[in-house]
């Protein structure tokens, strides 16, 4: 999912860079509204875990692999805006590993932090409310939202490629279907990992899960409709 340098032209890459930076500023302000002492080590740990988990590519088809994006995982554990910061920091460190282009950092933040974490959290919250807002359903709806967030983030790439793709001869329609198909499969892995990890934290420390009614800290928005 990490876009290298060269796939998307400088105009769209720069626009995404400005969007990502503006989003980061907004995320710092919004996260400040609820981020308390107890969430600091948790948020840092989630960043470290997402970095580690993203090293694990799992096969989805012969010749195709995928890995966790972690946006919904981070957002459900530490909130959508701290989640945006978590994913952005992971992407920043990864770009020093030559994983994801330096000029594509904004594009990758838009797809995986803005769409993946913040967008994914909105899906999670909507599903969770529809399901009756029961703490026992947190891992299930986190997993479902995580599953959906992967093809959604892939669509972010398709839009960026349609606007600024550097290879004009490519059919946007076939890129759309190919990205959708592979990322629905990768989303299954995303959903499973998110379900298991959120479930494990819910069992041990339900008071540390932002996206659960059991959360012991401040929350700036309502989970119960």
């Amino acid at each position: 999912m990490h876009i290298p340098d060269g796939f998307i032209g400088p105009g769209v890459s720069a626009a995404a860079g400005i969007t990502a930076l503006g989003g980061f500023g907004l995320a710092l302000r919004r996260a400040r509204d609820y981020l308390t002492d107890r969430l600091v080590p948790m948020a840092a740990l989630v960043a470290a875990f997402v970095f580690a988990a993203q090293m694990i590519n799992f096969p989805v088809l012969p010749g195709v692999s995928g890995h966790l994006l972690g946006g919904v995982l981070a957002a459900v554990l530490v909130g959508p805006w701290a989640g945006y910061i978590v994913i952005s920091l992971v992407l920043l460190v990864q770009s020093l590993y030559a994983d994801g282009g330096l000029t594509a950092l904004g594009l990758n933040i838009v797809n995986m932090a803005l769409i993946g974490a913040v967008g994914g959290y909105l899906i999670y919250r909507a599903l969770f409310r529809l399901g009756g807002s029961q703490p026992s359903t947190v891992p299930l709806f986190a997993g479902l939202a995580a599953f959906l967030s992967v093809p959604l983030a892939a669509m972010g790439f398709v839009v960026e490629f349609a606007l600024g793709g550097t290879v004009a001869s490519v059919s946007i329609g076939s890129v759309f279907w190919a990205m959708l198909g592979t990322h629905v499969l990768i989303g299954i892995g995303e959903g499973l990992i998110t379900f298991l990890v959120v479930g494990a934290v819910m069992r041990s420390r339900p008071d540390l899960v932002y996206g659960s009614p059991t959360f012991g800290g401040m929350r700036t928005e309502e989970l119960v409709a």
Partner: protein, 98 residues
Amino acid sequence: MRKGLALFGIGLLISLLIATVISQFASSQPDGLNYVAEQQGFGNAAEDHALDASPLAGYGGDSPARKAAAGAVGVLATLGLGYLVFYLVKSDKSTAEE
């Protein structure tokens, strides 16, 4: 607070284990985007990364020891960077809470 420390310690240990040991067994096939790029004919548009010569590039490459080291460095770097950023972000008013 001891319970919080336990979760933190276990989480960090699991992250290090994933990045150093389990990462050795990760699939080396192209990921979804790279696969689509090759299949749809724009894979060659990828440019060399400015940091390709760095020892961390490609998570240390094929050497298991270098990969484990690159993974451990990455986990500790994101942990430290995250701790710093979130420590600076947190609202001061909450310090009296616990």
